[in-house]
């Protein structure tokens, strides 16, 4: 990241709060995503990472706090609003329709219509084209899936993950958010996804990556957002902080202010 020009902020949140009955999942969390960066979000189980990104992607409406996109305050009332704003998300509890085929899942909600009358008047789907594009997309990820017309419920856990990742990467216009996209993936497939994340960033789209895999995080992240007890505990610079210090901050063993100077990201 260049330190010279003030970095442009794409997405920003301040003081987000979300309660589930007695449980406070988000307790005044802040968030900041800059143009063209990969922002890793890490934290213990239950630290509120998924809740945070659900608030950012319109999957839930926070009880309090403010979200800004490109400096404009926004209020997503549903995932549709977020999608319209060009934000694509891979959810942790994979949002797929198990009885539908892989191709259908990839294009769910953005189906392609045929050209000409058939498409415009009869609104017929262009299944052939969607199938072809699906195959290309999945080959990009180097996933060995035999047929795009097989139902998602017949896939292995990692293969399902790939479907969700491929979908988000293919359609994002503005921001890509991924909640543990590599959790169920094999080494090869995991690396493909990291590669894909880099490619997306290099096309200019900022990526939010939630992951428990520290090597992955340190491999790709430009900045690391540490979530802890529903808040943002710190934002670290992976080039200047050690993995063990990061884990220590994450688990609360070390306070951010006790970190070696320069560990915090700007």
């Amino acid at each position: 990241m260049m330190m010279s020009a003030a970095p442009q902020i794409v997405m920003q949140a301040k003081g987000l709060v979300k309660r589930y009955g007695q449980v406070t999942a988000l307790d005044g969390a802040d968030f900041e995503l800059r143009a063209g960066e990969i922002l890793a979000v890490i934290g213990d189980n239950g630290a509120g990472k998924s809740t945070l990104i659900k608030a950012l992607s319109g999957a839930l409406v926070p009880d309090d706090g403010e979200i800004r996109l490109d400096g404009q305050p926004i209020r997503f009332k549903s995932p549709i609003d977020a999608r319209r704003a060009g934000i694509e998300t891979v959810y942790q509890d994979l949002a797929v329709a198990p009885a539908m085929t892989i191709a259908e899942n990839l294009f769910l909600g953005r189906e392609l219509r045929r050209d000409g009358l058939l498409g415009r008047v009869f609104r017929m789907l262009d299944k052939k084209r969607m199938l072809r594009l699906s195959i290309e997309r999945m080959q990009d990820l180097k996933v060995g899936i035999r047929s795009m017309t097989q139902a998602v419920e017949t896939l292995s856990g990692g293969q399902r993950q790939c479907v969700a990742v491929a979908r988000a990467a293919a359609f994002a216009q503005h921001v890509v958010i991924m909640d543990e996209p590599t959790a169920a993936l094999g080494v090869k497939e995991g690396n493909m996804v990291l590669e894909l994340i880099r490619r997306v960033r290099d096309q200019g789209l900022p990526v939010v990556l939630i992951s428990h895999n520290m090597p992955h995080v340190f491999e790709v992240a430009d900045r690391i957002h540490v979530a802890r007890l529903g808040k943002r505990a710190a934002v670290l610079d992976p080039k200047r902080v050690s993995m063990s210090d990061t884990v220590a901050v994450m688990t609360g063993a070390l306070l951010p202010e006790d970190l070696p100077a320069g560990s915090l990201a700007h």
């Binding site: 549903s78 949002a95 329709a97 909600g109 060995g144 035999r146 047929s147």
Partner: protein, 332 residues
Amino acid sequence: MSTTTLSPPAVTTMRALHDKLPPLGTLGPLVALLAACVFFATQSDRFLTGANLSLVLQQVMVVGVIAIGQTLIILTAGIDLSCGMVMALGGIVMSKFATELGLPPALAIACGIAVTTLFGLINGLLVTRIKLPPFIVTLGTLNIAFAITQLYSNSQTVTELPPALTALGNTFTFAGTEVAWGALLMLALFGLAWFVLRETAAGRHVYAVGNNAEATRLVGIPTQRVLLGVYVIAGLFYGIASLLSVARTGVGDPNAGQTENLDAITAVVLGGTSLFGGRGVVLGTLVGALIVGVFRNGLTLMGVSSIYQVLVTGVLVILAVAADQLSRKGAR
């Protein structure tokens, strides 16, 4: 590297072929229907005549059209208990508007269909806005539609309808057989529903909502709007069924529809659609409706007395689905 993990072409071709065939869920009921037809053909030489088969088609046209709407709702993991009663109300409205109010037939029909569509809208709003279980909502509107039907019609059958209202009950001759226009309309509607469900985005969204509503929402599909749309369109289909019912019986009958509730659901389930949503084919529903119609017709031709017909129907319903299930197990 990507080619090594993709499967050999032979397997791909096999699978492509396999994908072209209808899923066993549709095939099973079809086999049961054909088996029933073969059986009845051996028992009565009147069964396999064009006139008789056309008759069966006429007899299932009302339930068939209701069952299209019911299929849509069941695909979204809902259920509509009110379908038959709403259909009856639509019939009363169109026949009374055409006779007592003296509206032009086309307008009266439109009003009847508007009423059933309105009921669909109410069902849909209660399901989507207040998030009530469809079972409860439609149990409520079932009672409401029934009461309004009886009150408005004063429980009197409406007769002396203008011919336009019963035109769909008329027949034309095709290949020497009298075919009712209404039966043709039913087949056309099944074709339309099949096309929309299979070939358009809206149709696929219906499956997606029934399959995993939360995932569908997260993907950015307005699930509530899809659901609402399904209930409204189901109401529209019930309105068309009203017209068919009026055309078939020639009167506006306040007691119509009372058995159609369960019959329509039966047709959908016999046709292989899952009550848990997201899985099924609307043409299976047609087959399911035909199975019921063929049993009733065939058993009567055989001279089976009506109480034994009930017994036989009970056994056959189970056998039909069991055969389907066992054949699928074998295929695995």
